[in-house]
Symmetry: C2
Subunit: 639 residues, 2 copies
């Protein structure tokens, strides 16, 4: 008999040789159905492996990321099995699970997207047969024999093999075998729902000097319902994809001469600038002081800040007159220099320095994408220098700032995550404990939904991150509040206290929107391009019924423009319904039809993007209302 | 007899051997007095050199830059002569005229600023003796003998000497001789007024590996009045020096880790942002479209634009994944890419793209200074893409834009300069001629004072530059309007005309303020830190008479702040006169005293920076007026 300890501390006795699946069954039929793998003393193994010693176990289901990994990796095997049946000459290479699903790279597999349904059918057959998965351990010689037709597998096996050691392989039934670390689901029948997405090209080992392989992407779930939900969500996300909408709505473009650096076109720049104006107005009300700092700094600064030692590979470097310089990846060090440029007194604290400086980080060209994975961006970065006794008030003020921006202005749902002391950390444990419990108590007191990520803080201090839920339920990590016990030390920052002595200030890094570029990407997807009135590049379009109404349309347009509103006129000789449809495609929040009646009465007929209509609105009153709506930054115009 | 042609075409006969001075005397006593050197067939020579052949001559006076050069170079000789008399062991090295005056570098001269008056006295003696200047030609051996105590002169002579050639030297009287190309004034008595400024250090040949020399700077003029005017102007300029005021008023700072790149401190950033807001409001009214473009571009773009071939040494380079990139020195190419990203129709033109992108140009660290010689800056750059027939309207609109900014808002006097086709140029002569005469006729029609700089245009087109006169009479080149016949070709830009065919657009580059950084430097000096109300970092300071008035001061401050005004309170326990003095030092435009009477009546006592005073102003009315003044961007508050 062996003793097995469950995660809740319960201990149970089993015959030696019991498997994870048997343990799951002994606990309950639901768990037996959901279990995908088992963690034994921290190690993830197959549900079908016999256990022979006392251990702590944890059954792993699809709901965990480890469970998803195992499930999708097993799906990749089923996929490779199907390919083997259909294309016997194809050579499978590697097929990992990835963040969203899995892929498998094949050589000698010449297929297109049109072939995927056929492969899916074959996979369904295999799943239906529900053949058992099993693990065998092989010597390198056995591998060489078994995979003699696939030099890729032999090449990998030769690299991984240790003299005298064994290599694990997994079988499905008797006809499919793949070299693999595992673990895997007990049988092919587990893979209830799956979908193959697309065929792409990839180089063997990611190296353009090697042969080009065929890569197939797919996804899988334990139930059809989960798959369908996912596919619907994916479709929604594709419709909202900021790269697609960004192009359709002329918001931004990219160009091969500047990879990872967006060109914001006129309409995108309006959104960028409106966000900046909004933040500046909030800064004015909250006593932040904006500064403008250089972009290029001598490596000496990065040595002081520690970036040179820890972050150099992400920085763009240049040499000037024999000195090494780098483009700044963040604003922190420049603010430390500004703080340090004068003797600071406690009377000046808290000093809140804000910066929209242009930042550059060297993302690999392969991972660059739209506005979310970029090389150049601007943050709404701020560093708050304060006394220890001011930290609480500053954090509370930051919660209020976040509430103002995310809840009041953008109507987002959000929660926060508190990340605590990691294994490697700077400063005293007592200081960390105090700071963490302060942050936690403030989250409680302010009734903010949160969870704790133990050990996930930065080495220089604990942090709170904001997670925002978008219109289709996705979560985005945006604002961040970080205590920094490091910067003041590294830069030897101090202030003269009321006691006449020198003290170290506490530094709070924080960003509200984070990267403005990325935030705009999130907004595009959240609003599906239907921006809040105040952010809309065009706030209203005038639709003259006939050409003779153009002069009146121009009169109304200039009235609106003189109130600072962004207006355009559709002067084409098209019908009003056609003009309305086109304005809807451009996602203009307000359409103002003007014909004889409107001209005579100096009114407009108002139609909102979501279809509300109001006739005979006096142009002057409409202008005043619209202006007020914009100034109040409401999401939807009042009509 | 020889025939001498004067600049106006007159021909005169003189005996062979006539000197420039004799020619000047024959023309008139005034010219004889003012002449400093003479240009003979384009070559600048001594007034005392005999002429033996027919020639074209032009007498050179101090009013020309060549005249100033000769005059100040001669002053440097007189200075060296004085040093030789006072410090016989000192070794003179080089002593050129420079943009403002001259300097002379000496070895073995251990003096300080305190010694300068003594040297000036000695110079006056020499000037009074009015010894004759003369030129002698020496062989290298003669130089080696004559200057055997000064190895610097021998070193230079050895470098300049050509086998069998002669080296020129100039004497003043019989006791002073210096190796020199000349020309020089006829006698020491010409140097009527001079001033030595400061003693500095410089390396021999500017190389830190060489010996450190003593450098003395000075200036000189033909009359005492000119010197005194200059010294007064210089003092005024020093008081207004933006580097000095920038530090005193906490507007910006610099730091050795980022040479040539200013850190705008909170108050400087307010000015920067106010200028941006002002420009954006003007852009909105004038249908400009702002864009945001990347900073780093592949060299491929610079090859297309021509910068790689002609401007590379001014660009900061970096290598990413094996590709060469550069930080942009100007915005033009990115706008061309945006233009080119879509098919353009004549209906879209004129398309006015504006950009405040961060630019970098590699100025040598030795010439970097304040906000005027920098490595990093932002311009209010714009490119207007238009049809040829739209150029006139665009230029007229730019004149109006310039008038709005410079005359109406900043109350500057200005004139323009039209620079025409240079020797090397692109495009057809006829196109240039047409464009130049259009620009000239528009300057005339708009009654703008201007002059023409023949041949001074850019190779890609003629241009108009704005020259602004500041409060102490200095001229600054700021706005620029440039026609560009090149960009559209290089980037193959086109639009579809009303005729359905492809045409090249005309490109107009233009900047209104130019570099914002430099413009702020000019504003600081022009206003001597007393900024217009709308630009002032602090627009009003509240001065509570006693501590008990602080709550009322805070009430007024929050009233003003809620109107968007920038206000501070002097809460120190100091007298009102002391508070007023300190506010004047900070150059706050408005001081609002509040005591018992004001609190009871809800008023303020207003004092402007230039000393106007008004009592019993209701706080609410004051707020409304101030807000209006700021919105109207008036220079001085209305009181």
């Amino acid at each position: 008999m062996i003793e097995v300890t469950l995660p809740d501390g319960t201990r149970k006795k089993y015959e030696a040789g019991v498997t994870g699946l048997e343990i799951a069954k002994s606990i309950g039929p639901r768990l037996a159905k959901d279990a995908i793998a088992i963690k034994v003393d921290g190690e993830l193994i197959d549900l079908f492996k016999p256990l022979h010693a006392n251990c702590k176990v944890e059954l792993v289901t699809f709901s965990s990321s480890e469970g998803k990994d195992v499930f999708r990796h097993s799906t990749a095997h089923v996929f490779a099995y199907a390919v083997q049946e259909l294309y016997p000459n194809a050579k499978n290479t590697i097929g990992p699970s990835v963040e969203e699903g899995f892929y498998y790279d094949f050589d000698d597999l010449d297929i297109t997207g049109a072939d995927l349904p056929k492969i899916e059918e074959k996979m369904k057959e295999i799943v239906k047969r529900d053949e058992r998965c099993s693990r065998i351990d092989l010597t390198l010689d056995e591998v060489k024999r078994l995979f003699r037709h696939n030099h890729y597998k032999v090449e990998m096996a030769s690299e991984f093999s240790v003299a005298g050691g064994k290599l694990s392989a997994y079988k499905i039934g008797e006809k499919f075998i793949d070299l693999c670390r595992g673990p895997h689901v007990p049988s092919a029948g587990y893979i209830k729902a799956f979908k193959l997405f697309k065929v792409a090209k990839a180089y063997w080992r990611g190296d353009p000097k090697n042969k080009q392989l065929t890569r197939i992407y797919g996804i899988s779930f334990p139930t059809e319902k989960e798959l369908n939900d996912y596919l619907f969500q994916r479709q929604e996300a594709e419709k909202r994809d900021h790269r697609k909408l960004g192009q359709e709505l002329d918001l931004f473009m990219t160009h091969e001469v500047s990879p990872g650096c967006a060109f914001f076109l006129p309409d995108g720049t309006i959104i960028y600038n409106e966000l900046l104006s909004f933040l500046r107005a909030e800064y004015f009300a909250r006593s932040y002081h904006e500064v403008i700092t250089p972009v290029l700094f001598d490596k000496q600064l990065w040595e002081t800040s520690g970036h040179w030692q820890h972050y150099k590979e992400n920085m763009f470097l240049t040499t000037v007159e024999g000195r090494e310089f780098s483009l700044k990846p963040m604003n922190c060090p420049s603010h430390a220099l500004i703080y340090k440029s004068q003797t600071r007194s406690y009377r000046e604290l808290p000093l809140r320095l804000a910066d929209f400086g242009v930042l550059h980080r060297n993302e690999l060209s392969g991972v660059i994408s739209g506005l979310t994975r970029v090389r150049k961006f601007q943050q709404d970065d701020s560093h708050i220098y304060c006394m220890a006794e001011q930290v609480e008030a500053e954090i509370v003020a930051l919660f209020a700032f976040i509430k103002r921006v995310y809840a009041e202005v953008f109507n987002f749902e959000y929660r926060m995550e508190l990340s605590t002391r990691p294994e490697k950390f700077l400063g005293e444990v007592a200081m960390w404990d105090k700071a963490e419990s302060l942050l936690q108590s403030l989250l409680e007191k302010n009734k903010i939904p949160y969870k704790i990520n133990p050990g996930d803080g930065a080495f220089y201090g604990p942090k709170i991150d904001l997670h925002v839920k978008d219109a289709i339920g996705r979560s985005w990590q945006l604002a961040t509040i970080q205590l920094d016990f490091n910067q003041a030390e590294r830069f030897d920052l101090s202030y003269e206290g009321a006691d006449g002595r020198k003290h170290r200030p506490v530094v709070i890094h924080r960003a509200i929107l984070g990267s403005l570029d990325r935030f705009i990407g999130v907004l595009i997807e959240h609003f599906a391009g239907k921006f809040p009135l105040w952010l809309s590049p065009v706030q209203a379009i005038l639709l003259p019924v006939a050409d003779r109404h153009i002069p009146y349309a121009e009169k109304v347009a200039s009235l609106l423009r003189s109130a600072g509103l962004r207006v355009t006129i559709d002067t084409r000789t098209e019908s009003v319904p056609k003009k309305v449809r086109d304005a809807q495609i451009r996602k203009y929040p307000l359409m103002l039809t003007v014909g004889d009646k409107e001209e005579a009465a100096e009114t407009v007929a108002v139609r909102t993007l979501d279809g509300k209509v109001k006739f005979d609105v006096p142009a002057a009153a409409f202008t005043a209302q619209l202006r007020e709506d914009v100034q109040r930054r409401v999401l939807q115009p009042t009509i």
